[in-house]
């Protein structure tokens, strides 16, 4: 996983570089977990299906990251990994692995309100895929 924080005064802006589109979504899981509970270890004890159909790769990544935030806020689900069964131009299908938040083992980071479209970039490069995402905090 290669990601780095880019300068932003108020929110969190991150650049991700991944060797493939699949890896980009895997990195999305790692990044989100990092934003939610930092370096706290998260187990893969639970498995939840994920299916998103959106006709645009940029919007697909956005919807996926939003979905992770929604699960955390409504049921405390922390993502540990993702098993992808289908990923093409307009669809992501698979299983999310993770566990519920446990205050004795997980140290919460400040709240992430949303994943924004501001300056959102998802593009294929010579080395794989590159994305830039701003999280509203």
């Amino acid at each position: 996983m290669t990601y780095r924080y880019l300068p932003h005064t108020a929110d969190i802006k991150v650049a991700i570089e991944a060797p493939s589109l699949e890896a980009l979504f895997h990195d999305g899981v790692t990044l989100t977990r990092q934003l939610l509970v930092g370096a706290s270890p998260v187990e893969s004890g639970e498995q939840h299906p994920v299916r998103l159909e959106i006709p645009d790769r940029q919007e697909l990544l956005l919807a996926f990251l939003r979905d992770l935030l929604y699960r955390y806020e409504t049921s405390g689900f922390l993502p540990a990994g993702l098993v992808i069964t289908r990923l093409d131009t307009d669809c992501l299908e698979g299983q999310l692995l993770g566990e519920p938040f446990d205050g004795t083992r997980h140290a919460p980071e400040p709240e992430v309100k949303a994943v924004t479209r501001h300056g959102l970039v998802v593009r294929e490069t010579d080395n794989g895929w590159y994305a830039e995402v701003v999280f509203d905090v």
Partner: protein, 479 residues
């Protein structure tokens, strides 16, 4: 200077000259030092971007606490003609009706100091804070949640969590005309257990006292005497509001294409005010705003409960609401533009309504002095109470600043704070911190923010707000 298109007008105003696709100029309120701080930040470009939107009336305005947001800058104000203009969820923000309220108690700082640690523990216990915080004692059925979304703070008061007097002292009396059916199930799911919680990030409950009075007449009318203990509550519509924004951004991206609106940034997506998409967003936005009014009202109840437990029933019942203002909202208002009275949709994103003395929307008890404006600073220095002015009404659609504004990124703040014990440092200065997460405290270190005095001095100097009192914190609950 940030760009050759930015020209200084006077000590407090800068004009961003209309170029390219801009439909109007930009107008930034700042002194030279604050302008210098903006170098390298994208917020001036965001002022320019907002000036591209159809139906904008008057300039694209930025307050002195401006900083980089998404779409609109934080600290941005823009008004749109009701017939030709647009509404943009990015001009309101994710935390719809994020806002501040201030309670004043009959207690003095000398009376509170000896019991401060216990009071802070009680507040921390009574008001859940932190990420995804929820209440086990306020669980809303779908029907009840819809009532909150329709009635706002009125719902809370009807259930005994406050008084009719409280409602008088809330912007729009704590309820905007809303459409709960326009709020998605996902948003309702996020909001159902979060009413009465402060959340995380820059949200807080702060105990302070009146340390300096600038305008004795107004201060007396607000009951803010030297040494008076006050309590600030800063929070908004929680997960429900974030989801309403997300849902409508999706719709507005489509709508902008459908109505042929050319956007310099996708996050500025919008729809004509007369369109069904806009009507639905405004109905949902107002519902989320009502949730936020009810949220802050409920938290006031728990503050009063803590005061009752720590002091007496009298102290609790005499702890009046000074005022409650929204600083992330879009509202239809009547303003005079170019000598003509017009109905416009004013977007305030990180900006506060600041109506002048005599305005009919202000409660009679404050009509002589103008609408109270609450400007929190960082947790280590001070905050201010101002009142609205005729200058603000004439020049900024009755708006002024909303806070200090960040000057350091969260990442940088954490780095600066890493090897330090921030709660201990603040305690040494007489400020007790109770926090759900050390990380939040680190990100919110005082030096991460501009000096709010600089910001307030600009709006006071420019005549778009008038200083009344300065408050100094002695205890802060953070998420």
């Amino acid at each position: 200077m940030p760009s050759p298109n930015v020209q200084q007008i006077d000590d407090y105003r800068w004009r961003v000259r209309r170029t390219g696709g801009m439909r109007t100029d930009g107008l930034i309120f700042a002194d030279r030092a604050l302008m210098h701080d903006l170098e390298g930040d994208q917020c001036i470009q965001q002022v320019v971007n907002v000036a591209h939107l159809p139906g904008i009336v008057g300039p694209s305005i930025a307050m002195p606490d401006i900083h980089w947001g998404y779409g609109f800058p934080i600290g941005g104000v823009a008004a749109f003609d009701e017939d030709e203009g647009v509404v943009s969820p990015g001009g309101v923000g994710y935390d719809i009706n994020c806002g501040v309220r201030l309670l004043r108690t009959p207690l003095s700082v000398e009376e509170v100091r000896p019991k401060l640690a216990r009071l802070m523990d009680r507040l921390f216990q009574n008001i859940p804070s932190g990420v995804g915080s929820s209440r086990s004692d306020v669980r809303l059925s779908p029907k009840e949640l819809d009532r909150v979304l329709s009635q706002g703070a009125q719902w809370t008061v009807e259930r005994g969590y406050g008084t009719e007097r409280d409602l008088e002292c809330i912007e729009a009396n704590g309820a905007l005309p809303a459409d709960p059916d326009a709020v998605s199930q996902r948003a309702k799911e996020r909001g159902k257990n979060q009413l009465g919680t402060v959340g995380s990030g820059n949200h807080f409950v702060e105990v302070g006292y009146v340390a300096e009075v600038f305008d004795e007449v107004a201060a007396n009318q607000l009951g803010l005497h030297p040494g008076t203990i006050t309590i600030f509550i800063h929070s908004g519509s929680r997960g429900l509001g974030y989801q309403v924004c997300d849902d409508n951004l999706d719709t507005m991206v489509q709508a902008a294409g459908k109505y042929g609106i050319d956007l310099p940034d996708k996050q500025l997506c919008c729809a004509p005010l007369k369109s069904p998409e806009a009507k639905r967003y405004i109905g949902a936005m107002n519902a989320a705003a009502n949730y936020a009014f009810a949220n802050r009202q409920l938290m006031s109840h728990y503050v009063r409960t803590a005061l009752r437990d720590m002091f007496s029933e009298d102290v609790s019942s005499q702890s009046d609401l000074v005022y409650d203002v929204a600083h992330n909202i879009a509202k239809f208002e009547n303003h005079v533009v170019g000598g003509k009275r017009r109905r416009v949709c004013v977007h305030r994103k990180g900006a506060t309504r600041a109506f002048p003395p005599g305005h009919p929307e202000i409660t009679e008890r404050y009509r002589d002095i103008g609408q109270p404006v609450l400007i929190p600073g960082d947790m280590g220095r001070y905050s201010f109470v101002l009142v609205g002015t005729a200058g603000a009404f004439a020049e900024t659609f009755g708006s002024t600043c909303h806070g200090a504004g960040r000057r350091m990124s969260r990442h940088q703040a954490k780095k600066v704070a890493r090897a330090r014990n921030i709660p201990r440092e603040l305690e040494d200065r007489g400020i007790l911190i109770r926090a759900a997460s050390k990380r939040t405290v680190d990100e919110e270190i005082p030096e991460a923010y501009k000096d709010v005095r600089q910001v307030v001095d600009v709006v006071h100097g420019a005549g778009i707000g008038r200083k009344v009192v300065k408050l100094v914190p002695i205890g802060v609950v953070k998420g």
